[in-house]
């Protein structure tokens, strides 16, 4: 069975844990890779540094992006990916606690494919992850490899 390869860009280790658990509880076949900031995300996507080998950095089906990141921020990474001809096809889903209208607008302007708010309640977070995983795994046709 096909699995969804997800690149999670998230600096908060506790949020990473909760997201991993949510994916597990949602019960979808997945391969969740985690990077801690924008620079690491670009290194991963360009297979540079620690991510030279394709096994350590499988091309993600979707990127889950937190906006509030140290160093290269979420908006910046979003723009960098969407302006890169080789990477722009990868859907980016912003997953954040920020309800700031400017953040929402900027994210869509830069080419985000969806903007999701992280609920505080874990059971609802699991629901969101479940819906999201199901949608990208089963409902949509993803861009072909290569």
């Amino acid at each position: 069975m096909r699995q969804l390869t997800v690149l999670l860009v998230e600096d908060n280790p506790r949020d990473v844990r909760l997201t991993q658990r949510a994916f597990k509880q949602a019960g979808l076949p997945h391969d969740l890779r985690v990077v801690r900031d924008g620079d690491e995300a670009l290194a991963y996507l360009h297979r540079e540094g620690a991510y030279k080998e394709s096994e350590t950095a499988p091309r993600p089906d979707v990127i889950l992006l937190d906006l509030n990141l140290p160093r290269m921020g979420g908006h910046e990474l979003l723009r960098a990916v969407k302006q890169d001809n080789r990477l722009r096809q990868v859907p980016i889903i912003v997953l954040t606690t920020s309800e700031r209208p400017d953040d929402v607008r900027l994210a869509y302007d830069a080419g985000a494919n969806a903007y999701l708010l992280k609920p505080v309640e874990f059971s609802r977070f699991t629901e969101v992850i479940g819906q999201l995983g199901k949608f990208w795994l089963e409902t949509v046709e993803l861009p072909p490899e290569g």
Binding site: R14, L18, T97, E99, K118, V120, F122
Partner: protein
């Protein structure tokens, strides 16, 4: 000319004595004694030539000396005296309007007309009763406005004096000119007929002074954007050295987004008056500023021009933006740990519930409970900071539709409590942002449902009354009520009168309602008897109040 018998003089002196006393009593509390004195004696002076007896009236800082009135008219003819006295009243009325505005003048007019009616029978004018009836007593100027009135009064008197000097000088110059030219005087050079005060004060000099003194920038620009007139404040705001320097330059160069000018022209073609529009400008020295402007299309020296009055709100906008950013980041950053609390406590319960005893599990439940409560507090804070800042368009809203929706959303609570809700047969349509009105009713109604008295069937009555300038809505319940000493406290953010166990909630609801009501020019309050019930009331102005710049 046969003189009437002496009786008319007594009556006339009595009547006008009372009338001017009434004028005095109406003006003095607002303008102060010295300005009132100046206003009355100046008015008299202006009419001296036509009615010399007015010069014999003695005014002091406590009003008219009534014996001077009796003496002044002793040798005059009745028609002449009455005409003079009426002219004086009109003159005062006109100046009053210039100083205090139409409402203030109307207030005086109502008072004098009432006096006229009360003074049987000689001085009642045929049309007066209906007129007085028609003019409902205007609102009293607020205490706080008194210093403003007084200073405006002083300014107006000052301007008036200058104007008179100027007129005298002009008249002299014209007379000299006539002599030189030896041509018959044109109608405009004829001796001026009796000067009507309103016209006088409205004259160019008066408005020119207003223009120069205005704390707001004023600019007149033609359709192409060329500035044809500007006041000192406009130059100051836009960082030009003088208005002269500003005149001749093009207003489009000052726009941050030049296309905004075209949009403005398009809109003004549809609505000749635009109020409170926000715009981004760049000063001559390159500083970015934000202004709020009101514009209208005028005829300026024969060509259509745009008159704009504007105020620099850069600092205010910056503070608002800062406040908004603060609220969003606070809400955002504080939520991250909450997610951990809730998620981890839930995790403990799910995966380690069997190794915890009942107290351990209870503690986890309470962490979850508090984390979710704090999320609600943050939402309340964020909502509170949003009101009056985000663009919420006032539209014509049918209050019934709003109530129907709110009651529909609350149908579960209504069914659970078995509450009876009375909604009035007719409800008005108001000018308000629909989402805000929904918030108000939703909050007040859910409070009424929440704070019900145990063992009593909740009964909620909605009502409204229409007033001249506003609608007043009420939401009454038969719940637990509020002690009077807490009336103020319940509107403060996060202030609660009960524990969360007794009545759930964050304590933000009424604060939000109050802020909404007040930011739309209304008032809110509560009347309550403990253990009998509460009535919350709020008002909505009939015309849209100037909304907060956002």
């Amino acid at each position: 000319m046969v003189r009437d018998d002496q009786a008319w003089q007594t009556t006339t002196a009595q009547f006008y004595g009372q009338l001017y006393a009434c004028v005095w009593q109406n003006l003095e509390p607002f303008l102060g004694a010295s300005t009132t004195y100046e206003l009355l004696s100046l008015s008299g002076q202006a009419l001296h030539e036509a009615y010399p007896f007015l010069a014999r009236l003695q005014w002091s800082t406590v009003g008219l000396d009534s014996t001077s009135l009796a003496q002044a008219i002793a040798t005059e003819e009745r028609a002449h005296v009455e005409a003079g006295c009426e002219q004086l009243l009109q003159y005062v009325q006109g100046l009053t309007q210039e100083i205090g505005g139409v409402l203030f003048a109307q207030r005086l007019h109502v008072a004098t007309e009432q006096l006229r009616l009360a003074f049987e029978p000689a001085f009642s004018r045929p049309a007066a009763p209906e007129e007085v009836e028609r003019l409902a007593t205007p609102v009293q100027p607020q205490e706080a406005a008194l210093p403003l009135f007084q200073s405006m009064g002083q300014q107006a008197i000052l301007l008036y004096r200058r104007l008179q000097e100027q007129r005298a000088a002009t008249a002299q110059a014209q007379a000299a000119l006539q002599k030189v030219q030896r041509t018959p005087p044109s109608p405009s050079e004829m001796p001026q007929p009796l000067v009507v005060p309103a016209d006088l004060a409205r004259s160019e000099a008066f408005y020119h002074s207003l223009f120069d003194l205005s704390p707001d920038g004023v600019i007149v620009a033609d359709i192409n954007g060329t500035i044809v007139q500007a006041n000192p404040r406009a130059a100051e705001i836009l960082e030009f050295d003088s208005p002269q320097e500003l005149i001749g330059s093009n207003v489009i160069e000052l726009y941050v987004h030049p296309e905004d000018r075209a949009v403005l022209l398009e809109q003004i073609a549809q609505h000749p008056r635009l109020e409170g529009r926000r715009g981004d400008f760049r000063t001559r020295r390159g500083k970015a500023i934000i202004v709020t402007a009101s514009s209208r299309l005028i005829d300026y020296e024969g060509q259509p021009c745009l008159l704009s009055v504007f105020r620099d709100i850069t600092e205010r906008a910056r503070l608002q933006q800062e406040m908004q950013d603060f609220a969003y980041s606070a809400s955002h950053d504080l939520q991250a740990p909450l997610r951990t609390f809730e998620g981890y406590a839930r995790w403990l319960l799910e995966d380690y519930g069997n190794v915890l005893d009942s107290t351990g599990r209870q503690l986890c439940e309470e962490i979850i409970d508090d984390a979710l409560h704090m999320k609600k507090l943050l939402d309340g804070l964020l909502e509170y900071s949003r009101i009056g800042r985000l663009h919420t368009q006032a539209v014509a809203v049918d209050v019934r539709k709003v109530l129907d929706r709110v009651l529909h959303d609350l149908q579960l609570e209504i069914a659970d409590t078995g509450a009876i809700v009375h909604v009035p047969e007719s409800l008005p349509t108001v000018l308000y942002p629909e989402v805000r009105l929904t918030q108000i009713f939703s909050n007040l109604l859910s409070n009424a449902l929440k704070f019900m008295a145990p063992g009593k069937r909740p009964e909620i009555t909605l009502g409204y009354t229409e007033h001249e300038r506003y609608y007043r809505f009420t939401v009454s319940d038969n719940g637990i009520g509020i002690a009077p000493e807490h009336f103020g406290r319940i509107f403060e953010i996060f202030k609660r009168l009960h524990t969360r166990e007794e009545y759930p909630g964050t304590g933000a609801g009424l604060t939000i309602v109050k802020k909404i009501v007040e930011s739309h020019g209304g008032q809110i309050g509560v009347e309550s008897v403990p253990s009998e019930g509460s009535t919350f009331w709020f008002t909505i102005p009939k015309t849209e109040a100037p909304s907060c710049a956002s």
